[in-house]
């Protein structure tokens, strides 16, 4: 049963249909929010809020085939709202931010082999250093596998804007890796 059918059932009073939607989507929304905040607690909170909002607003969704873009849009807006609320805590500039212990370690010893958990930490740290609007596009493209058209739909922006944000996001990530003296060849070690 596709999302549109589940939404139709939910609108007809079938609460179980909404539960199935939650089960189907919660992992993706949690993953998206986790990539954004690098925190399971915040990701869980965003996921909860996303589905609470979806529950309240699902009747207002006109085109049920666009549920995917709609739910990502809710999650994205909640992430941005949360970022704004915590901006004072998190708005330190790239230069002002202290180096991550893992990054520092790598910087002093670039030939060191990177373990898998370290790699995740480095990538999460790097993602958090780039502007939110670029980070969101990188996450949606790299980890959620959305097409440029779909991301543009979620964000309500032209496709070229999306591509441009992704381009600059990748460039900044590259710059960060170079700044931390991380050799990509070393990171590719299996």
């Amino acid at each position: 049963m596709n999302d549109a059918k589940l939404i139709e059932n939910f609108r007809n009073g079938d609460m179980e249909a909404f539960n199935r939607l939650v089960k189907r989507w919660q992992q993706r929304i949690h993953r998206f929010a986790y990539r954004y905040f690098a925190s399971h607690d915040e990701a869980s909170e965003i996921t909860q809020k996303t589905f609470i909002k979806a529950y309240k607003k699902l009747n207002t969704l006109e085109n049920t085939d666009k549920f995917s873009a709609w739910i990502y849009r809710i999650a994205n807006n909640l992430c941005l709202d949360e970022t704004k609320c915590a901006s004072r805590r998190r708005s330190a500039s790239m230069e002002a931010l202290p180096k991550h212990p893992v990054a520092e370690n790598l910087s002093s010893n670039p030939d060191q082999l990177v373990q898998q958990e370290d790699l995740e930490s480095i990538l999460q740290l790097a993602l958090r250093q780039i502007p939110a609007e670029q980070r969101i596009v990188v996450i949606m493209k790299e980890y959620e596998g959305l097409k440029f058209r779909e991301i543009a739909e979620v964000l309500g922006e032209p496709e070229n804007t999306v591509k441009s944000r992704l381009y600059y996001g990748l460039k900044k990530l590259r710059t960060l890796f170079e700044q931390w003296n991380i050799e990509l060849e070393a990171l590719r070690y299996e």
């Binding site: 009073g13 079938d14 909404f18 070229n160 990748l170 590259r174 990171l187």
Partner: protein, 220 residues
């Protein structure tokens, strides 16, 4: 094509959302522009690195909405989903349902099944229990026994009351006799005291009279 146009195709190229025609044009252009080719290579490396992010499996599940407006139709649909699909399963379920139905009906209607010498008797409703009771002689003996017991009890009770009364009367007589003796002793004692007092006064009077006579005779 120029550098700006080539860069605008980088994302489409990297994420394989480019048409064959544009891909061909871009690749041709990059062959003659090593700087752009290097830039694209770096972007590709960055992408490859991002793709090495470990998969994430959130262990906790969200709270689900509890359906609270179950209609009979939905309940029936869910009940039907629980029913077995095979013919054997359905037969067993039907037999079990009939047995349960019979048990419930029998319980409500108070069904009685009895085996007699003539066959099986089935009845519904309340069955009064028949009490066989005592014979006349046994009843008379029982009544007589009860009478005797009652008479003996009454006799014992009357005797007990009589004895109590006698003891009570004896106590009262004793009390009044003691009281009378005390009163007599008190009267006797009082008379003695009165007698002594009178004698004392007489003696004193005689003494005074003697003194008066002696004084008068001396004066003469």
């Amino acid at each position: 094509m120029n550098d700006q146009l080539a860069r605008s195709l980088f994302m489409d190229y990297l994420y394989d959302e480019i048409s064959d025609e544009e891909r061909s044009k871009l690749e041709t252009y990059l062959e003659n522009h090593p700087k752009l080719r290097k830039e694209l290579q770096e972007l590709q490396e960055t992408r490859s690195l991002l793709q090495r992010m470990p998969e994430l499996n959130p262990d906790q599940q969200l709270l689900m909405v509890e359906p609270n407006d179950r209609t009979f139709g939905r309940w029936w649909q869910q009940a039907k989903q629980l029913a077995p699909d095979s013919f054997f399963g359905k037969s067993v379920l039907a037999a079990a349902a009939i047995i349960i139905l019979l048990l419930i009906t029998g319980s409500v209607a108070q069904l009685h099944v009895e085996t007699t010498g003539k066959g099986i008797a089935i009845s519904m409703g309340y069955t009064p229990t028949v009490n066989t009771g005592l014979s006349n002689q046994e009843a008379e003996a029982l009544v007589q026994k009860l009478r005797e017991e009652n008479a003996a009890t009454l006799s014992k009770y009357a005797e007990s009351i009589h004895r109590q009364n006698r003891e009570q009367l004896k106590k009262m007589v004793t009390y009044f006799q003691e009281q009378r003796i005390n009163d007599l002793q008190l009267v006797d004692q009082t008379l003695d005291e009165l007698q002594q007092n009178t004698n004392y006064r007489l003696r004193q009077t005689n003494e005074y009279l003697g003194q008066v006579l002696q004084t008068v005779s001396t004066g003469d």
